[in-house]
């Protein structure tokens, strides 16, 4: 009895020791920040001379304004649209890239290029190309299509968010493709070939064989991208349509204000955003688990 318990105990101990660095970072940095953020959003900030803990005033003020819900809608819209468009592009792309063809290596290397480029550079590229002072507008003005560059059709800085979604998609398609390619490489061609031999059409193969096979890749890639998109603020700040802003930008504006009382309001925005994105991600994972269970994989 003792002999069997001891190694198990040692194994547990080893696991704990191995996890410690990660736990310290997670609990210390992330957990600490989370607790501080929560405390502030409920009115605890004695270092600014504010201590009304616990008050729900900051949440009330936020949730009772219709603009907050519009901002939330915008935030979700950009995040969903970019993730969906990214998936629609990268699923067929990864399948195409899993087959060998002429210059397929060069092609897949080219596609990975945006992975190396930071988001801000992508934003700058969008401004330089598509902005009303950008290359396209100046060229159209130079060619006499429009009288001056400001008449160019407004692509950026609208609530439609073409620029924001474009930058997200441009940056995230290579990431998703890479993820999906890894899953495809792991599963191999056997099942596809078997389906072909049994006379399945290519459409049937995609919907019945390939797609379920790469589902884990789709879920993990879209989860990561969605979580990023919902919390990112540079693209909506620079390429967005101004007021009402997305929630991360709204929080940033509160933090930027010289008046420290607004910091607490900003924390309420951040906490609300974390709540919403947490709910969505949990629901998504729950749905995925149900899907896997139905297929008998879990």
């Amino acid at each position: 009895m003792m002999r069997t318990a001891s190694p198990a105990f040692m194994q547990n101990l080893r696991d704990v020791v191995e996890m410690t660095p990660l736990l310290v970072v997670l609990l210390g940095l992330f957990g600490g920040a989370l607790v501080l953020g929560l405390l502030q959003s409920f009115g605890y900030a004695p270092w600014f001379g504010i201590n009304e803990f616990p008050t729900t005033r900051y949440f009330e003020r936020l949730w009772l304004s219709s603009d907050f819900w519009f901002s939330l809608g915008l935030t979700l819209y950009y995040a969903f649209a970019a993730t969906l468009i990214g998936l629609v592009i990268s699923v067929p792309l990864s399948i195409a890239l899993s087959k060998r063809f002429k210059a397929s290596r060069l092609f897949s290397a080219l596609i990975r290029l945006p992975l190396m480029v930071p988001y801000t550079v992508g934003i700058a590229l969008a401004l330089v190309m598509l902005g009303n002072g950008g290359l396209l507008s100046r060229m159209s003005a130079g060619l006499g299509l429009i009288d001056d560059p400001s008449q160019f059709v407004q692509i950026l800085k609208t609530h439609g968010g073409c620029g924001i979604i474009l930058v997200y998609v441009w940056k995230q398609v290579p990431f998703m493709t890479l993820n999906l390619s890894a899953v495809l490489a792991r599963t191999g061609d056997d099942t596809v070939e078997a389906a072909m031999v049994l006379g399945a059409s290519s459409r049937q193969i995609f919907w019945r064989v390939t797609l379920p096979q790469i589902m884990p890749g789709i879920v993990s890639a879209s989860l990561i991208c969605f979580a990023f998109n919902i919390g990112a603020f540079e693209a909506p700040l620079i390429l967005g349509g101004g007021y009402p802003d997305t929630l991360p930008v709204l929080a940033w504006r509160y933090f930027q204000d010289a008046n420290y009382a607004f910091q607490l309001q900003g924390m309420a925005v951040v906490v609300s955003l974390a709540l919403v994105s947490g709910l969505f991600l949990a629901a998504y994972l729950q749905g995925y688990r149900r899907f896997e269970r139905a297929r008998g994989r879990v």
Binding site: G49, D67, N132, S150, Q154, K157, T158, D257, N259, Y260
Partner: protein
């Protein structure tokens, strides 16, 4: 053997005691805050300060690093000059002074008190100074105690001293030293706007925009450049015709109802201007986030005007290529071109306070101010009437040129800044009325936002 051992023990003990008592003495002299209280009580001569500064060695200077020509001047002129005084200037270029204010306040909150912080010197004014002052994060009243303090007017009986003693209406308490004096100046692109169509009043601006819709915009409040534009609108539309005068009072003195009454015509004007601004025709006027964005719009002919703090902004824009070639200054709005000063201050927990004072003394010298004016196009912060003829001539010779207007015309149209407590309320009102389009009586909005501000 035993004897020698015990003797050795004794000696060790004695030397330990000596070391302990000696370090105790050093500690008493160097205890955090000692230098501060000694200097502020006037018990310390300037040679002692410079000696301590050399011992400290470094000064961490946090400042807005968005201007290449200012950065160049710091690196090529100020750093060598301070090195000659035995102090290494460590420039920390930041994008927003608010970030540095955050650092100082966070450090103090984390218990890093006197001489334990990381920021020695900050370029600051307005709301950020107000925040530092409100949080008791300032080092002390040093501004009239430096050798070069003679270059500034500190006598309160002289009304001209107000620019040195009030920062956005907040008493500086001599806790910051003027560095530069700026004025809100608009530039116009002569490629599109002939002289006879150049607006001089807000009514003329509106008339111009009715003929040329979309060719103007201003930086979005709460950015200070946007706030300043709104303030000049409010001055010009003051229903009593008293301009900036009532806006010098604090919010408590003035009262919300009175402020709302004063603001009403100005806010109406801003509302009526919205459809005529850039992008306003589509129902979503575009307000740039900062001056860089506005400069780009101006350079690209998307707008015909560019307003910002900068007596020599037009000159600087032309030499750096950020303004269109035919940019000229304009006198707009007549009589309400807001002027203020910006300052250098030392945070309470500065780790090298003596070096910071030596640096401030250098920045306040006639030589440094003249070369900064010439190389970086930053107007002087010192007061010309305090200088002798020779020094005044040096400054005059260093001034960059003006385009289309004269320095006399600029000086003749000065208006003071708005009290910092009102700035907060005005910017919040702008956000409510213009951005959120709240359709309530102005008095209600002012009461609501001031309540939210003061909690």
């Amino acid at each position: 053997m035993k004897k020698t051992k015990s003797r050795a023990k004794q000696m060790l003990l004695a030397s330990t005691l000596a070391v302990v008592s000696w370090s105790g003495a050093v500690q008493a002299e160097d205890a955090p805050g000692m230098f501060r209280s000694e200097f502020l009580q006037g018990n310390m001569g300037w040679p002692e300060v410079t000696a301590k500064a050399r011992a400290e060695g470094t000064v961490n200077f946090y400042y807005w690093g968005g201007s290449d020509i200012i950065n160049l001047w710091i690196d090529q002129v100020a750093t060598p000059a301070l090195a000659a005084e035995g102090v290494t200037l460590n420039p920390v270029r930041i994008t927003s002074t608010k970030d540095t204010v955050d650092v100082v306040i966070a450090e103090l909150a984390a218990g890093r008190g006197e001489e334990e912080g990381s920021v020695d010197l900050v370029w600051v004014n307005g709301e950020n100074f107000f925040s530092l002052k409100q949080q008791n994060a300032l080092w002390g009243a040093f501004a009239d105690r430096l050798p070069n303090s003679v270059n500034f007017e500190w006598d309160e009986s002289d009304p001209r001293s107000l620019l040195n003693l009030r920062d956005f209406g907040v008493e500086t308490g001599l806790q910051e030293m003027p560095w530069s004096g700026e004025q809100y100046v608009c530039s116009v692109n002569r490629a599109h706007v002939p002289v006879d169509q150049t607006p001089a009043t807000f009514a003329q601006l509106k008339a111009y925009l009715e003929a040329n819709p979309g060719k103007f915009t201003y930086v979005k409040p709460p950015h200070y450049l946007g706030n300043t534009f709104v303030q000049s609108v409010l001055y010009a539309h003051n229903p009593d015709g008293t301009g900036a005068a009532p806006y010098q009072k604090s919010f408590e003195e003035l009262g919300g109802a009175e402020l709302a009454r004063l603001m009403e015509p100005g806010m109406e004007y801003l509302k009526s201007l919205e459809p005529l601004l850039l992008g306003g025709a589509n129902g979503s006027p575009r307000y740039p986030e900062n001056s860089d964005e506005l400069d780009n719009l101006f350079l690209n002919s998307e707008v015909h005007f560019d307003c910002k703090f900068g007596v020599f902004a037009n000159h600087n824009g032309l030499i750096t290529g950020t303004y269109p070639e035919q940019a000229e200054e304009m006198i707009f709005p007549v009589g309400n071109m807001i002027k203020n000063k910006n300052y250098l201050t030392v945070p309470l927990n500065s780790p090298h306070p003596a070096a910071a004072l030596v640096a401030i003394n250098y920045f306040s010298s006639v030589g440094a101010q003249a070369s900064k004016l010439q190389a970086a196009g930053m107007p002087v912060g010192l007061d010309l009437w305090r200088l002798n003829d020779e020094d005044a001539a040096e400054i005059a010779a260093a001034a960059p040129p003006h385009y289309g207007v004269t320095q006399q015309e600029l000086d003749a149209n000065i208006a003071p800044d708005t009290n910092a407590s009102l700035v907060d309320v005005i910017e919040a009102t702008w956000l409510a009325v213009i951005e959120r389009k709240e359709d309530k009586p102005l008095a209600d909005i002012v009461a609501q936002v001031s309540g939210e501000l003061n909690n």
